[in-house]
Symmetry: C2
């Protein structure tokens, strides 16, 4: 009644374990006829290699991990979860087609026991500078790739989110739709997307003669903090007629803030965000956002990680061109 082992299969096929192993791995040539016979019998008796035994010998666990350094359930909560989980869903499929399991790493809590997880590699979603997760895994010798560059660690393979290009696209759209004084609201953490966005914004301001207006918010504050802070921001900078708020939870807060101040969107103030999740879609009015192609990005990240694991050169890749999703919040 026990699961058949390689020995059972070898015996049934009248060959040695070695031959069976080679037949499956292809690491040495075996007679095609023999191979076929082995495969047929394997089917019949329902043989599946024991992962643990493979792992023990090869050192590969057959597992990759997905981690976000964003607070998992706190903070922007369901919203950021959306972002992470869209990636998770695709990554899970991509992993499985490569015969790997995808496991989830909840937010890094000091002293967390990550011992349970010994992945062959890790995908980090939008890590920040000196992210402890990066340090933990690289210290363990586990290959790491990130979605969005790790600031200061350009050596770590990553899927480039093109945040600069995204920012420019959004800013130019805002201007084309009639805005002349555009403000920027980002997170206070040092994530690459924020840094690139800010840099591009400042450049854009210089080019167009806009006086920069930046607001940086602690991510853990979430929507509530944003609605409060943006209200204050709009009071201080009463001249603003548009906001680019990449973090969608903050954008939700901005909508509330505008409403509280009696500002109409888009008549008095235009608003655009980045991640095109439920928040952007269900907002009143719906928010102009950016289609980031998260599915493709997740696929790329998994592919990148695989080649990093296989020891190949894992050159950073660029995500597909982001695309504007025009909605009422920036209607000209």
């Amino acid at each position: 009644m026990k699961k058949p082992t390689i020995s059972d299969l070898a015996q049934a096929a009248g060959v040695s374990k070695t031959t069976v192993s080679h037949a499956f791995s292809g690491r040495r040539h075996v007679d095609p006829e023999t191979r076929e016979r082995i495969e047929k019998i394997a089917q019949e008796i329902g043989y599946r290699p024991n992962r643990a035994a493979q792992h023990l010998r090869t050192g590969r666990t057959g597992m990759i991990a997905l981690a976000s350094s964003m607070p998992f359930s706190v903070a922007a909560g369901p919203s950021r979860l959306g972002f992470l989980m869209e990636i998770a869903a695709t990554a899970a499929v991509a992993s499985l087609t490569r015969n790997m399991a995808l496991c989830l790493i909840p937010p890094f809590q000091s002293g967390t026991q990550l011992d349970a997880i010994t992945p062959d590699g890790v995908i980090l979603v939008e890590p920040f500078q000196d992210d402890p997760l990066v340090q933990y895994f690289t210290g363990l010798g586990v290959p790491v790739v990130s979605v969005g560059c790790v600031p200061g660690r350009e050596d770590i393979p990553h899927v480039d989110l093109n945040s600069g290009a995204t920012a420019r696209m959004v800013l130019e759209h805002l201007r084309a739709s009639g805005a002349s004084r555009i403000g920027l609201v980002t997170g206070a953490q040092r994530r690459n997307s924020y840094l690139e966005t800010e840099a591009t914004y400042r450049m854009f301001c210089v080019e167009t003669g806009i006086e920069p207006a930046c607001l940086q918010l602690d991510e853990t504050g979430g929507e509530d903090l944003a609605s409060e802070a943006v209200a204050g921001f709009l009071s201080r900078r009463g001249d603003l007629d548009a906001l680019y708020v990449p973090v969608d939870a903050f954008a939700s807060g901005a909508v509330t803030a505008a409403a509280a101040k009696g500002l109409k969107i888009p008549q008095n103030i235009r608003l655009a965000t980045r991640y095109d999740g439920l928040r952007a879609k269900l907002s009143q009015p719906p928010l102009t956002a950016v289609e980031l192609h998260l599915e493709a990005i997740a696929d790329q990240a998994v592919g990148l990680l695989m080649s990093a694991i296989d020891g190949g050169i894992a050159e950073p890749v660029s995500a597909p061109q982001p695309q504007l999703v025009l909605r009422e919040s920036t209607a000209g």
Copy 2:
């Protein structure tokens, strides 16, 4: 430079591998003094047991899986993801504190190779009758627990979602808020929550003399199908003045349908849903929903699974009492 093994540790501590193993597992007594020395040295040399080796010997992978039989990215998409992922987030933490990894199983595609995943146990979220995932894993001898009973498989340990009680609570609230003819919109799949909800609804109708009005929608149709179908439903049953729509994506569709027909919520028609996710919160108007305590439920599910794995008796448990979250959509 290699990772230290149990032999290295044994040698360093001047004992045998056996003693080291026992010192950690506690399966046999070792002198407290010896144990302390071993632990101290383990710390120093950074010893961690090799999971693969443990797995091979014990048959435990140290991994549990979370699967939803709901289409993962299709269908209700981000919305259902919300439901699943709130559970995933908590379950991941709960697993890790038990020194287990949580891995994600994307939707079951025919012929999927789930070989990559050989978990010690599986949590299924709202499975339906004859769910292939149930059959797959039970066939493999992997313990299964579910969030929401598997219809027809009361023998499988589960966290009872109390969908009947939830339905009654919502229905009574709708009536108390002034509705007299309440309709029900559920999914066509045979999930326990739908079945219980419908049964309770019918009973409620008998008790209160309401003529039942049920609509069942294919889940894969998502919000779009719902908005279309609910519009038709409302035309056919022009007398309805309230709807209970447990699936939040369908509830979103219902909102659209009502708007299209010029019906005001809640003045002309009241609307309540179940999962209190982004959709309910961001809807216009915001929807009355039910706080299901998904975090607690996820915790319970993990606990239940652990005892099922350890061979203990895993009695079904009941989720915490659901609570109404009153919002504008059912304002009296």
